[in-house]
Symmetry: C2
Subunit: 402 residues, 2 copies
Amino acid sequence: MADRYVLISTDSHAGLPAAGYREYVDSRYHREFDAAQAEAEAMREAAENDDHSKFLREWNAEIGQHGGMKGAWDPAVRTKEMDHDGVAAEVIFPDADAAGVGGVARTPFTAGLGSTGSDDAELTLAGAWAHNRWMAEFCRNSPERRAGVAIVPVHDIDAAVAMIKWSAEHGLRGGIMIPTAWGSLPSYNHPVYDPVWAAAAATGMPVHTHSGVGPNDYGVTPGLIAIYTVEAYWWAARPLWALVLGGVFERHPTLKYVLAENGAWWAPDIISRMDSKWEGDHATRKFGPAAFRSGLTMKPSEYVNRNCWYAASVMFNTEIDRRYDIGIDNLMWGSDYPHPEGSWPNTRSWLAERFGRVPEGEVRRILGLTAAQVYGIDLGALAPTVRRVGPTVADIHAAAAS
Amino acid sequence: MADRYVLISTDSHAGLPAAGYREYVDSRYHREFDAAQAEAEAMREAAENDDHSKFLREWNAEIGQHGGMKGAWDPAVRTKEMDHDGVAAEVIFPDADAAGVGGVARTPFTAGLGSTGSDDAELTLAGAWAHNRWMAEFCRNSPERRAGVAIVPVHDIDAAVAMIKWSAEHGLRGGIMIPTAWGSLPSYNHPVYDPVWAAAAATGMPVHTHSGVGPNDYGVTPGLIAIYTVEAYWWAARPLWALVLGGVFERHPTLKYVLAENGAWWAPDIISRMDSKWEGDHATRKFGPAAFRSGLTMKPSEYVNRNCWYAASVMFNTEIDRRYDIGIDNLMWGSDYPHPEGSWPNTRSWLAERFGRVPEGEVRRILGLTAAQVYGIDLGALAPTVRRVGPTVADIHAAAAS
């Protein structure tokens, strides 16, 4: 496969049509499940507007010849679309329907991307179990190409640890996703979470947070959607410094943490600020410099380089331009399939446009080889797929070279 | 004054020793004032630790020959220190004692830098009135060199508008400071604040937020102080996009907004994201692109360039390196006098080190000329002071040129 790229999408999504989850939900929660489904459907209809309807018509027309949303839960359609896009393997998060494309793929009890530590502990756990059971089944078809991510709520530490072990035993090699916002729970620098980090490190399961949650203090005010898109990256980045500055990677040196779909353009500035404080810059002296080193034997950037990765999805030129500052081996690509803000169904041309000018060796790491290491993906098992569908070096670089 | 720089510090602080405010507080709040003083003093003593005590000894030794903290409230000492540092004029915020230097200069009822919209409305207003009355008196000594900033809580819109008018009539030419965190109040993109913006625009009073508030969801957890210093800039930056994306500068085209002591290194990235969304990038389509332009006839960056400034205090090399991206006419210097994270009592050498390599014309704007325009400072009235104490062009650039 010397002339082919190994594409591993570190940000993809899958999930059942909403009603399909019912059989995976513990039957004692069926009444709550039915009520939540009805409420979600009513909310979706109430929120519909001309602008969004127009987008849905256009998007559904665009993906119609690509199985529409079916690839979110149908392994045959999904595999065909992966082949179409040249993707050899993927790390699979929940919530395939991020755009209200219509009734599909909502994690029960919204236990997926939008979940926070403020949500109902019992129902969130029930929703997570339902999704994880289904996801384990889903990945059993082509396990070499599918690394499913388990949803792991952290209200109950013992339950979280048990779920991590179950997920590892049931082949969810994508690792775990905890709520991006801790909400009313302790922040992630609190030692109460140490058993979770220990279980993830022991099983080799990368811990993820995925962007999606936003601010909760704006109400319905002018500019809200624009403000949400400006702030979303920040809310999704907070766990990074909670973990680093809270000494979590000092105590768990083999723990892997991945920030999914949150870009990485912001990382060098913020990490260099952390280092500057750790080193004791002029502004730290009034606090007493020891406060900045407590529990950290290395500089913050050293923990980040060793323990943290960015699943930066389709990636913009900013990430590519800053790839050395971000860390060339900490940056991973993802198609965000099947979300409309991703590159599907035009991943091949998208990659040529973005990466044509980047040296081949670096592109290989960003598009797949780093992910193979982080997730323990067997490149040998992928080789036949790569030979068949992987984009060639010429596919990616020919236009930029001409 | 052709060979001298006009230094205008857009971030300085003044305030009375805590007990001194008592006579400025409305007498019906004296009981609450005394109780709050006692509580604050007890908290300060309880929080003392060896690391901070060591810093205090060093800092007090360093500023001892410069009047110590006396310049925070004594006009003669302050003027002498401004002369020592080469500062012709300053914009003066509350809370001179940001480091617990000892019992001085705490705004009553913590109505100053740390105030949020969640604080008690009545006491915060009482504290603000006390400080503003004192500040108006303080600026009457050398009014050409002192532009005092009025504290304006925004719990009660009518009271805020009345206070803006009073402040304008009583010579507080520095403008107004609103709480950086709206807390439980509506966010600053809410139209409820329009009378405040209108009053500020009508009187030509720049509106400020000043860094200081931090997150409130960490509790007492490992790494808290380091996390605070990483996050503080973000909490202090939120009003910028609330105002811009909420259409405030569309409705109030002459309103001036200044972010004080929050650097500006972060601004180009975030503003270019706002522009990208306004222009309708790939990721916006699922929301319906109209949501990003609602109420905004210009690009976000155009409002920022026209209506917003950064009082970036002592400024780090990052701001200086990025000055064109930030906006060469939107960036202003400040000494942060008398805070220990500022440049006092070494402002002259600090400036030479930071600005020696920057072309003279640009340095003039950043160090004073832009501030003179924003705050309507009379350069003619300052000229004798500048001729006497202003750093010469050689002072700033000689070392870098050699």
